[in-house]
Structure formats: structure tokens, C-alpha cells
């Protein structure tokens, strides 16, 4: 009984020591949004529908991404190109292409499934908004605008930074591409733990 009481006291005191100790530990917080973290090379963020160099849409409306999607986040409805209104090189294009980014789990299976490398996941992740409906991204927001080039495939951006995000992201990198998430406190903890396991 007494032992238990004493043990309880000791445990409480240990708790006090821990919290007190943390007062003087360097905080791992990154001052987002003024400082942005650099992503892992294949970070899965907001989608983008790419174009070919001649400006035509890559997407052929085949719906393979739709059936591959484990979250049922994609809706594709195909339509036929006409000589007067040619959207994609082949016969078919996506008349309707929508991704519900709230449903999406950013697994990248759509990217895997696409036969034309049309849908890709960019490292962009800032898409907060006030209404649920605004998270259903249709072609107007997914497709690279005509003046915006062709979009980039994941293997074309080794550091995972699209050009327009780069400036901010490089201010301070909390991740070292070579060694992983070392710069964060959590990363260090993980590493220590791993070292402990290995040793």
C-alpha cells in the first residue's frame, strides 16, 4: 500500500521532471506558412491533368483512373473529338473530369493507372477552402492552363518542387533528401530509436 503510494508519487514527480525538461528543448515547429517544408521527392498532393507539347490534352477519358481509385473520388465521362473541336490526339477525350479532393486519399493509383500519363499528383497541398463543394476539382482547375506549359511528370521534378512553389520551399529545408527527415525532432527521435534497434 505504502509502496504503491510512494511509487505513485515518484511517477508524478517523474512527470513533473519531464514537462519541466521540455521547457528548455528546442522546438521543432516550422513557422508555416512563412517557411515551408520541402517535400519528399514523390510527395502526393493536388492532381494535375497534363497536356502534350502541342497543347492537346493527354487525357483520353478512358476512365481507368476512375476504376483504379480506391476512394471512388474520380468521375470521368468520355466524349468524341470532332474535327472542329479536337481536344486530345485520339478519338476520345474527357468531357467531364472531376476529382473530389476530400475523398481522395492521395494514394497515386490514378497516376499509376493512366495509360497516357495525363493525371499526375503534384506536391501542391494547399487547397483549403470554405465549402465542401469547392473541393470537387473539375477540368477547369485540374487541367494545366494552355499558357501553363504541359505540366510535369513526377520523374521530371527530382526534388518534388514545382517551379512556382520552389522559392518559398527552399527558404528552409527541414528534410535532407539524402538522409530523410533528420531535421525534425520527431525525425531525430525516430532515428535514435532505429539506431537503438540496430545496435
Amino acid at each position: 500500500m505504502l509502496r504503491a503510494v510512494i511509487a505513485g508519487f515518484v511517477a508524478i514527480l517523474a512527470g513533473f521532471r519531464t514537462t519541466f525538461g521540455y521547457l528548455f528543448v528546442k522546438k521543432p515547429t516550422i513557422a508555416y506558412p512563412s517557411i515551408k517544408k520541402q517535400h519528399a521527392p514523390r510527395f502526393h498532393g493536388l492532381h494535375e491533368l497534363r497536356r502534350y507539347a502541342d497543347g492537346k490534352e493527354r487525357c483520353i477519358g478512358c476512365e481507368l483512373c476512375q476504376i483504379a481509385c480506391p476512394a471512388n473520388a474520380i468521375v470521368v465521362v468520355g466524349a468524341e473529338n470532332t474535327p472542329a473541336d479536337r481536344r486530345s490526339p485520339g478519338e476520345r477525350y474527357a468531357a467531364r473530369y472531376e476529382i473530389d479532393e476530400l475523398r481522395c486519399i492521395f494514394c497515386g493509383l490514378c497516376e499509376e493507372a493512366c495509360p497516357t500519363d495525363a493525371i499526375v499528383l503534384t506536391p501542391r497541398f494547399e487547397m483549403s477552402d470554405y465549402r465542401r463543394g469547392s473541393f470537387v476539382y473539375a477540368k477547369d482547375r485540374l487541367l494545366v492552363p494552355p499558357q501553363g506549359g504541359v505540366g510535369s511528370a513526377p520523374d521530371e521534378r527530382p526534388n518534388g518542387i514545382p517551379a512556382d512553389l520552389g522559392a518559398v520551399a527552399q527558404q528552409k529545408s527541414t528534410v535532407d533528401i539524402a538522409t530523410g527527415y533528420d531535421a525534425t525532432w520527431y525525425g531525430r527521435a525516430l532515428k535514435t530509436e532505429r539506431r537503438g534497434l540496430a545496435g
Partner: protein
Amino acid sequence: MNAVPLWLIVVIKSAIVLFVVITTFAYSMLFERKVMAWMQLRPGPNRVGPWGLLQPAADAAKMLFKEDLTPKTADPVIYRLAPFIALFAAMGTFAIIPFSESPAGVWSVGDVNAGILFVFALTSIGVYGISLAGWASGSKFPLLGSVRATAQMISYELSMTMSVVGVLILAGTTSLVGIVHAQYRLWFFIPQLVGFGIYLITAVAETNRAPFDLVEAETELVGGFHTEYSGLRFGLFFIAEYMNMITVSCIATLLFLGGWNAPFGLTFIPGIVWFLIKGGLFLFFYIWLRATLPRFRYDRLMAFGWKVLLPVATLNLMATAAVIAAVR
């Protein structure tokens, strides 16, 4: 000096105390948020002003401009009145708390010779604010919160009073100034170590702070007694809570830590500074406690109050009385 009427002196003194206390409240809040954040490996508020120093002002502005809602099912009069009761009780105690002493007199609004009783009387009124608020809100969670507040108050006030009575026996007076004077040589926390421990615990419970914050327990009761409150009225509760914290810190300093008496003969530092340092330590302890310990389960809280604290406080009181009787 005789030209100045007494009432004017009291008004001026009250104004000074109020200003100081309100500022203290504001910054103790910021202090709490910062310390909590650091203990949880966060930077804490750092956006408003340098190091977040203007955060209290921002909070105040927010409180003032938020819409003040009264639920349909609430009892409108009592609902609106409750925060003022809580705040009144919390502020009233400052009228008699002596902060320091100088040759000209005691630094307080008014020195009452039964000061400690006055303090207990007022803090007991404070719980009415909470109980009435919960009851008048007209919804379930606040009601549960207020019932808890009442039960908790009754359970822990008993032990608290008993721990204080030990001090009174030692000091032989109920005047706060007298008690401080009695500690000129020996601060009472040494002879009254058990009493001091009990006071610490019950003070936390009395002020409904973690780990005894069952009254607002957001994981179970949403917001407890203040679930329905918003805007300024919520702000008043908020102020009252911190005022209470400051009050019990001051009382602890006065009763157990020798008030403004300097330790180790360091008398070149003015008494008011010692008072503030001692009070600040208590505040820090409060915050530290909150960052460290999880909330009690309700039945354990009750069991602890009645089955542990009360017997120990009673024994302590009896022992003190016996020793004093024997010595005399």
C-alpha cells in the same frame, strides 16, 4: 493626508489594485499559454506583437466583439447574472489582501482583522456563479458541470479550511497581516508541511484547475458550466478563474510562505518583490501541474477528497492543536 477623505483613499487604492490585478490576469494567461506550449514542445502564441506579447489584447478584443448568445431554454436573468457573481467574488478578495508593508502602513485596500474568514466567505460565493450559470443555461452539459462544481466545492473546502486552521492556531490571529508578522522568524510551511500540501491540492480543486477541472471537462461535458456562454460573458468567467488562481496564490504566500518577509535576511529587496516572486512561483506551479497531470475521474476525485484529504487534514489539525497546547 488628513485632508483626503477616507472614501477617496479607498477608491484610489481599489483602482490601483484593480489595474494591477487585471494586468496580472492578462499576462498570467499569456504566461500560461507560453509555458504550456513550451512544455508541449510548441512555440506558443507568437503572432501578435513581439513574442506574442499583445496576445492578451487581441484576446480581449475578440471576447468583446463576439456575439453574446442566450439560449432559448435558458433562464435569462440568472443566466446573464451568473458571470458577474463569479467575477464579483473573485475580485472582492483583493480588497483585503495585503501585498506588502511599509513604515506608512500596510499595502492593502483595507486591513480586516478577520481577513482570512472574509476570504473564505467570498470564495464560497464564487461557486454560486458557476452553479447558477450551469443551471440557468437550460441544457444538459452545463447542468452536469455545475452539479460537479458544487459537489467539488463542498468536498474540498472542508479540507482547505482545516489546513488553514492549523496556521491560525500557530499565528494566534485571523488577521492576514498578523499571520504574516507571525512568520517573521519561521515560515509556516515548515511546521505545517502537511497543511501546506493539503492547501496546495485543495486550492487547485477550489479553483477548478487541471487536474481537477471536472467542471468544464471538455472531453465529457463539451465546456461544462460555460458551454452556452460566449463573448463577454464567457470572458468574465475566464477572468474570474484567473483571479481565483491569483487569489489562492496570494493566500498561500501569506499563510505559508511568509508573505512579504524576505528569506535569508535579503531585506534589501523590497517586500513587494518577494511577494510577487512567491505568488509567481505558485502560478507557475499551477501551470506546470496542468501540463503534467491528466484529469481525475470524478469518483476518484470525490474519494480522494473525503477519504484521504479530510482525515489527513483533521489529524494534522489535531496534532497542531495538541502540540500548541502542550507548548503553552
